[in-house]
Subunit: 208 residues, 2 copies
């Protein structure tokens, strides 16, 4: 059953999303073009408009998928981590950077507000704000657990979580968008992430 290029694509929405990720992977976020996405998906330049209101809506869908995958990754890392609550903090921190390395296209999109400036991107309302998306919740819960175990001083958990978040987010951003000579391989990036996160967690830890 060779692909006879039927008039109807089957699941063009999915095809467009995948094509968009491919385009970003090849040409970067700047090279993301609706027409190029349509070309890669093998349809006319206007077909996407039957699945997305505009370019921003397509991006919004990718961002939405990204945040969902991201939350799952963080939750999985937290569940799989062993050791003390602080050890778990280190693990989810490294998982954050690893997600950025494994899904650079989604990661870049997720934190680029100028690309998702469409008012009608409904799926994003589910996240309300990105910082309070469930990925952030995992950090909050990990910190609360550490506080319960007496490993982290009581205090504004939101502030502590923001500090931890900032550290891994900044590192991921610098590695991805800053020049590549910070870390040229994923292994190198993860090693840096571990060192960096351990310092931050040390800062969060309660003094004896």
């Amino acid at each position: 059953m060779l692909e006879e290029k039927p008039y109807h694509h089957g699941d063009l929405r999915r095809g467009l999303l995948d094509a968009a990720l491919r385009v970003i992977a090849e040409g970067g976020v700047a090279g993301l073009t609706l027409r190029e996405v349509a070309r890669q998906a093998g349809v006319s330049h206007n077909a996407p408009y039957h699945h997305f209101a505009d370019k921003a809506a397509l991006v919004a869908a990718l961002v939405d998928e990204g945040f969902t995958q991201f939350a799952q990754t963080m939750q999985f890392a937290y569940d799989a981590a062993e050791g003390s609550a602080l050890d778990k903090m280190v693990c989810i921190g490294v998982a954050y950077v690893q997600f950025a390395m494994n899904h650079p296209a989604q990661f870049r999109l997720m934190f680029r507000p100028e690309l998702r400036a469409s008012d009608q991107c409904l799926p994003l309302q589910a996240h309300k704000t990105y910082e309070t998306s469930s990925g952030f919740d995992v950090v909050i819960r990990a910190l609360q657990a550490a506080q319960r175990e007496g490993l982290v001083a009581e205090g504004d958990t939101e502030h502590l979580a923001l500090a931890a978040w900032s550290t891994v987010h900044g590192l991921a951003d610098l590695i991805l968008d800053g020049n590549r000579n910070i870390a040229s391989t994923t292994e190198e990036a993860l090693a840096l992430a571990r060192v960096t996160v351990e310092i931050m967690v040390q800062g969060l830890a309660k003094r004896p």
Copy 2:
């Protein structure tokens, strides 16, 4: 001497750079358009090409200016800081975030590689890589001073500096690009920066 709109602008290069910053401030990085910049500067859509090879070159010039201002800001903050080497670390960390709040357009540009993808952006070669630009050097020197005073454990200074850099960079990025509800005013942002940086510096500090 009312502006008679002479044929020659006087310093169009400067005018274009200022216009570009204005455009970004109004419409964000995505709204930065060569033609709009020319319009704001009051010249034809092609005049910029006599001062910049292409759009990326204009952005590169802005980035270059940004890194220069940034390095000065960091150096000044370091020199003006009082107290121990750790106190100075906190000060330059807050200064980092403050720079991002005061110069959001430049800051966004500085860490957006897709916008400066011009091969012939010569002025950037002076910085070689952004991480080793003199702004980063200030962090390195501050850490070395802290190590000399015995406040920070000996070790790979580059790694420690990257951790500190990541934290403030991530925070600035989240505040600027992530939704504004993290911090709605500059004062709020600086307060968050202080809390966050103190945690990171605590992590860098040597245990007794």
